[in-house]
Symmetry: none
Subunit: 227 residues, 2 copies
């Protein structure tokens, strides 16, 4: 879940933001002043920070610099000041965006989404893209399959079938769905293709192709991948 740190000294605003963000599935942490903000940020490691500039204890730029000293988390600045000098100072200090109060909730949320999207896109997509069984390993990102340490070559269609099954690990995937997503909408009833390609995959991947343990058939329904 995406964690948002809201920093503002006006309880009114904090409350409004908390309600709106929580309702949209964000996890919300809050801080009422600069010291607090830095402390909480270090503790909860938010995915994005919404920071009011008019804090009682320290200057906004100081907070930004305090955060930037150790994290690249997106910072969206809120401020009542419309003066362009303030905006420039905050942005150059390391803020990602600057919204002037009063602000529209829709807009803030959209800017927040944009900031989060950017941040997550820049992180080289996590290792979660590797699925292992005791017989072989599938790397979804690299489109590679390893068996006994050696790479197994798959054709585009074989890969398409395997990928769809692996992405739905443990779930039953209907024949129609497989055919439509791999071959295209016009092939929804060519069930013969599936038999041929599942056999090929088993021959390449299963220790005992005739007794599959990972690429399983659900007669009359479809196929299932189990780790």
């Amino acid at each position: 879940m995406t964690k948002v740190l809201v920093v503002d000294d006006e309880p009114q605003i904090v409350r409004t933001l908390r309600i709106n963000l929580t309702a949209r599935g964000y996890e919300v942490a809050t801080a009422g002043d600069g010291r607090d903000a830095l402390r909480v940020a270090a503790a909860v490691r938010p995915d994005v920070v919404v920071l009011d500039l008019g804090l009682p204890d320290m200057d906004g730029s100081t907070v930004i610099e305090g955060l930037r000293g150790w994290t690249a988390v997106p910072i969206i600045v809120l401020s009542a000041r419309t003066d362009s000098g303030d905006k420039v100072a905050a942005l150059d200090a390391g803020a990602d965006d600057y919204v002037t109060k009063p602000f529209g909730m829709d807009e803030l949320l959209a800017r927040l989404r944009a900031a989060v999207r950017r941040a997550s896109a820049s992180v080289p997509t996590g290792e979660a893209a590797v699925v292992e069984t005791d017989a072989f390993t599938v790397d979804l990102a690299a489109k590679k399959v390893l068996r006994d340490g050696a790479e197994v070559h798959l054709t585009p269609t074989e890969w398409g079938v395997l990928e769809l099954l692996v992405r739905n690990k443990g779930k039953l995937v209907g024949q129609k769905q497989l055919l439509q997503e791999v071959w295209g909408p016009a092939y929804a009833s060519e069930t013969h293709y599936l038999r041929v390609y599942l056999a090929q995959l088993r021959r390449k991947l299963e220790p005992q192709p005739s007794r599959p343990r990972h690429l399983l058939t659900e007669a009359g329904m479809g196929y299932r991948f189990e780790a």
Copy 2:
């Protein structure tokens, strides 16, 4: 030097921006409508795009999507509309920031700096800029390739292909992705180019061009670089 693409149909604005940006050391390219914008973006590969939403030929979101189809370049939207619906739509379509006209040049420049800073920070610079194989060495930073101690000369296109493959070491890179990122979004299906350039790269780099060990083909899918 940082390249900025300015897209606006009002010559006045384009002129003002060009002057200000050039004075601050940016390299400026311009486009007057959406079609132009996509074409120029593919050609000059800007580091940031400033995009006016009120273009004569196409909807702003369409332009954003057209860019997002193949590049993650930061997009700063300019618009006379203050309506929050427009802002939300543009940001959700993939824009990074939204500035309403009339805008302060200082602010725009600060937002532009913030966008560029973010984008360059997300590309880990020190990240293994040198990749070695037992046959040749690729220096991503210096854009050089060494083989048996001697420098191998590559044409810009050859380098573009090799760089993309090496940066995705071990991963399969789809032919569409290669074509779009090296030649531009309009060339997504010119698979013949790939065959020609991969052959040239192999001739220059592989000990046995007909039996490549580092620049591998995955028939029907794409190519892969292995060290």
